[in-house]
């Protein structure tokens, strides 16, 4: 018997092939994805036309935070961003099809909507981060290089956890609309800037309670060798990636509760 590919992989490959067959649409989407990230970057650069520092940090330093956040978010968006569509699956009943198959629900949903075009955003974000790190003149050590890689991957896991957790809301509230964007896209914007610019309660709520401060801000401080204006010890940046597995565990718990809560809408 010929060796069969892994079922999840087969689902994802089928998706990529079907999307690439609409060529014009595929390329337009690819270009559009770059537009979105360019808008955020342009906005940031224009802020620095007016001022020399944001929350006590220079342009290259803020760009390092922006870059880490952008790569992490793009990776999360590439791998699990499509989970947002679970709302449509619940409303139309497609989720029933997924539930009766002998595969994991989450894995199938991700493979069902896998879109390779979001890869362009990852590559673009990596380019931004590379330029930012060069202009910020980081004094590299092997441990810092390791921290950079771990921080970016941990950030991706963290954003992925946010995507899954917010998509789960649809199990209870189908018309929840763009509510999840508050912590997903809002979270991306939050982490793109130093958290020292935010008001005290806002910074505590999103930076520490939700944990968004550990995605880009503290790892960037450690890479740049800067002290935290808020007074947290210097090693905070080195342990910050540990927030990601915690977020992933909580998110998995929410997802399982959601799936168990699911009642088909019927047709």
């Amino acid at each position: 018997m010929a060796e069969r590919p892994h079922p999840y992989l087969a689902l994802a490959v089928a998706q990529v092939r079907s999307q690439a067959s609409y060529r014009m649409s595929f390329w337009m989407d690819l270009a559009g994805n770059l537009f979105v990230l360019s808008a955020d970057l342009l906005a940031l650069l224009i802020m620095f036309r007016i001022t020399d520092d944001l929350g006590g940090f220079s342009r290259p330093q803020v760009l390092v935070m922006f870059g880490i956040s952008a790569v992490a978010f793009a990776l999360a968006d590439l791998s699990v961003g499509n989970i947002e569509r679970v709302r449509a699956y619940i409303r139309t009943g497609t989720l029933d099809t997924v539930l009766v198959r002998p595969l994991g629900v989450l894995g199938q949903l991700l493979a069902l909507d896998f879109s390779i075009r979001r890869l362009s955003r990852v590559l673009y974000a990596i380019a931004i981060l590379t330029v930012a790190l060069r202009s910020a003149q980081v004094s590299w050590t092997p441990s810092k290089a390791l921290l950079l890689v771990v921080a970016v991957l941990a950030g991706a896991v963290f954003f992925g956890a946010l995507f899954v957790a917010t998509a789960t809301v649809a199990f209870w509230w189908i018309e929840s609309g763009e509510l999840g964007n508050i912590v997903t896209y809002g979270g991306r914007d939050f982490t793109s800037y130093p958290i020292s610019i935010y008001g005290a309660w806002f910074r505590r709520l999103f930076g520490f309670v939700l944990g968004l401060g550990f995605v880009a801000y503290y790892p960037a401080l450690a890479l740049l060798g800067l002290p935290d204006p808020a007074g947290l010890p210097d090693w905070t940046g080195w342990v910050a990636p540990a927030a990601a597995p915690v977020a992933a565990a909580v998110s998995a718990l929410i997802w399982r509760t959601g799936v168990r809560h699911y009642r088909s809408t019927g047709s």
């Binding site: 649409s25 270009a31 559009g32 001022t51 520092d53 944001l54 018309e175 809002g186 914007d189």
Partner: protein
């Protein structure tokens, strides 16, 4: 052979009050239709508020050193951000694909068979929708912001009527832009590309992410004169926050009137052109 067109003959004008009455009835339909989407409005409101906070803190950080940025006081900047967040829902910057969807499915035939121009129907309903949005999407973010931030209230009494006129013109201009973007579906069917370009331009070049006065002067003026985007958000925001620099309120309103007229004509021309080539499939 007699002329064959895709549309029926128009009902001739009888009197002015009848035309206004019909327009008003359509606006009332728009108002009522959108008042049923309560959950979606609530979710959008929460999202607008979150992004309002993020933009506020970024702009406050920009102005932190001197207390001003490009001629805006910090209070004016806060008014700018929160009026902008409230107006997203009023001008309906994103998410309107009704027309493009109807073109793709062929339902557009129903609109063309009606005894008045499609654009009149859609514009009337959109103004009704905007009226509702002034109540449920515009006011709440401003109230929340007033509790947390120091907002600049208009100092001159004239600012209130001028602001209202500017917002109304902004709704018309934004409607026309959306209408034109949707009309691309007559030619393309898959309208994702034009929609994406619109989302990018309307936000970045319209003054949503940062006041356009942050840009170099020549670029800012080129945007004002050469594109309709500043007339959608930057215009009412500058009028109501009483920005002291140039362009002043009179110039802004003049530009808005010009863009509204130009775009309405453009919509009508594009619509006519599209009707001549439209082939609806199926039975």
């Amino acid at each position: 052979m007699p002329n064959v067109t895709a549309t029926v003959a128009r009902v001739p004008f009888r009197n002015f009050s009848e035309v206004v009455g019909r327009f008003g009835a359509l606006a009332a339909i728009g108002f009522r239709r959108y008042s049923t989407y309560r959950q979606a409005a609530l979710a959008s409101l929460a999202t607008n508020t979150m992004f309002g906070f993020l933009r506020s803190y970024v702009l406050l950080a920009v102005a932190a050193g001197t207390g001003t940025a490009a001629g805006y006081s910090t209070q004016q900047l806060m008014t700018f951000v929160w009026l902008g967040q409230g107006l997203i829902g009023v001008v309906l910057l994103w998410g309107w694909t009704d027309l493009a969807d109807r073109i793709r499915t062929g339902d557009i035939v129903m609109d063309l068979l009606r005894p008045q121009r499609a654009i009149t129907t859609y514009l009337a309903q959109d103004l009704g929708r905007a009226g509702l949005a002034m109540l449920i999407r515009f006011t709440p973010p401003l109230v929340i912001a007033a509790l947390v931030f120091d907002l600049a209230l208009p100092q001159r009494a004239a600012t209130y009527p001028l602001g209202l006129i500017s917002i109304t013109l902004a709704v018309v201009i934004c409607f026309c832009c959306r209408y034109l973007v949707n009309c691309c579906a007559y030619w393309l069917l898959d309208n994702r590309g034009p929609t994406m370009i619109w989302v990018f331009c309307s936000g970045l070049l319209g003054g949503l992410y940062f006041p356009l006065h942050f840009l170099p002067q020549p670029i800012m003026w080129a945007l004002w004169l050469g594109t309709p985007f500043p007339s959608i958000l930057q215009a009412p925001l500058d009028v109501i926050s009483e920005y002291a620099g140039s362009p002043g309120p009179a110039t802004i309103l003049g530009l808005q009137v010009a863009w509204a007229a130009l775009l309405l004509v453009a919509c009508e021309l594009v619509q006519r052109r599209a009707e001549r080539r439209l082939v609806v499939q199926g039975g």
